[in-house]
Amino acid sequence: MSWNRKHLLDIESLTVEEITTVLDTARAFKAVGERAIKKVPALRGKTVVNLFVEPSTRTRISFELSEQRLSADIINFTAEASSLKKGETLKDTARNLEALNTDFIVIRHSASGAPHFLARELNASVINAGDGAHEHPTQALLDAFTIRERKGRIAGLNVTILGDILYSRVARSDIWALTRLGAKVTLCGPSTLVPRVFEQMGCRVTYNVDEAIQDADIINLLRIQHERQRKSMFPSLGEYSSLFGLNKARLARTKPDALIMHPGPINRGVEIDSEIADCGRSLILEQVTNGLAVRMAVLFLVNGGKGPQEIAP
């Protein structure tokens, strides 16, 4: 069990062993969050910049708290209140941040590949907190962690991802992580948002919701990414809800132990019925708790150096 990477840029390039290392490490960090003193000195003296060029609430707060619980010093940087508004390029912004001797840059950006660009340009460790419609690796890792914790395994499970797949970085990262760990992934949603091309990632694509969820162990619901859609991809939210929303009647036809996930923010009454979001089979809030542990684990792992892992006893 070891991790040799300086950055976390995507899931696509991770091996099964690397993903498993993150999940195993996160288990120990979850326990830290359950103690009276929820803080460890692992990143003491290190500086983390949270560079959120695209708006985010839950991911940003989760990263911030993870960093605080690792004793790092934090600089928060949002697009609205920064010189990016004054025409500074991402590269110049990042180089200015690096001139402050920052050790880690957590970046959320609307352009796919922005974290990879920074990783090439800068000496700091870069963590992708979501880049365009490309990837959102820590979300996939926390989803995998949550599934493994609740189901005891991932290999062999049927995971259905339902909703806007085309514009979803969560979907892409989830597909990479879950198929690599041996899950059978089914994608479902309006045909305009679930192109057949995703079959090349090793998924099954169907447009029939009831068929998509009848054998599912996990149903992962995704929000419609209005902000990324250039034109209307389906007639109305009402029609989306009746055709693809998870409601009581649909849930009744799933396996009784099928669990429901959602990366948030949820749109009650659109992709998920309000009472289902709050029911015992919903893991939505557990995902939030586990997100902290997974992000602590990622920061802890990328902080590692080059020396041998084992110390001579």
Partner: protein, 176 residues
């Protein structure tokens, strides 16, 4: 492959642990105040065995926990990040005598990290240290209270403690 010399066999390990248990009992008259915490990973099975031995001496169970020091190490950005094993301390350490248990005492840095980590769980009355092997070469002002075997070593050698199941236990000194 490394050349290995047998330092302790299973019987010698058992004798050393029995002696350490009696020394812990002798030093700590208030037996109800004593808890054991094994340092991951080598100290955990040793703490469990010492707990059973002390339970036999005192006629009551001795609370035993396990502590991983990975998050408290002072070389985290120099080495590949360590595998972090579970920390389970199912009792309050505040006011207790905590006996930290480890297999090998070397630089003392693990012990320092363990004392630091323990702080997050409360304020022990005192902390004592029990080790199966003290191999010297301390880099910090740390000394064990209870030692199974003092073993002079060269810095380049390594001490391997195997605690599989009672009969196969052994301590080896490996030259690399």
């Amino acid at each position: 492959m490394a050349e290995a010399t047998l330092i302790l066999n299973a019987q010698a390990i058992q004798r050393a642990l029995t002696r350490i248990a009696h020394e812990i009992a002798e030093r700590n008259e208030a037996s109800q105040e004593v808890v054991l915490v094994g340092i991951q990973r080598g100290g955990v099975p040793l703490a469990d065995r010492l707990g059973k031995l002390l339970g036999g001496i005192w006629n009551h169970t001795v609370p035993t926990g396990q502590l991983d020091v990975g998050m408290h190490r002072d070389d985290l950005d120099r080495r590949i990040a360590p595998a972090v094993l579970p920390t389970v301390i199912p009792f309050d350490v505040t006011g207790k005598t905590v006996v930290l248990v480890d297999d090998v005492l070397f630089s003392g840095r693990t012990t320092r990290a363990a004392m630091d980590a323990l702080n997050d769980f409360g304020r022990p009355r005192r902390i004592q240290l029990a080790v199966l092997v003290d191999r010297g070469h301390r880099e910090l002002p740390i000394k064990a209270d209870f030692v199974g075997k003092n073993l002079p070593t060269a810095p380049t050698e390594s001490v391997r403690v195997r605690l599989d199941e009672e009969d196969a236990d052994e301590v080896l000194l490996e030259k690399t």
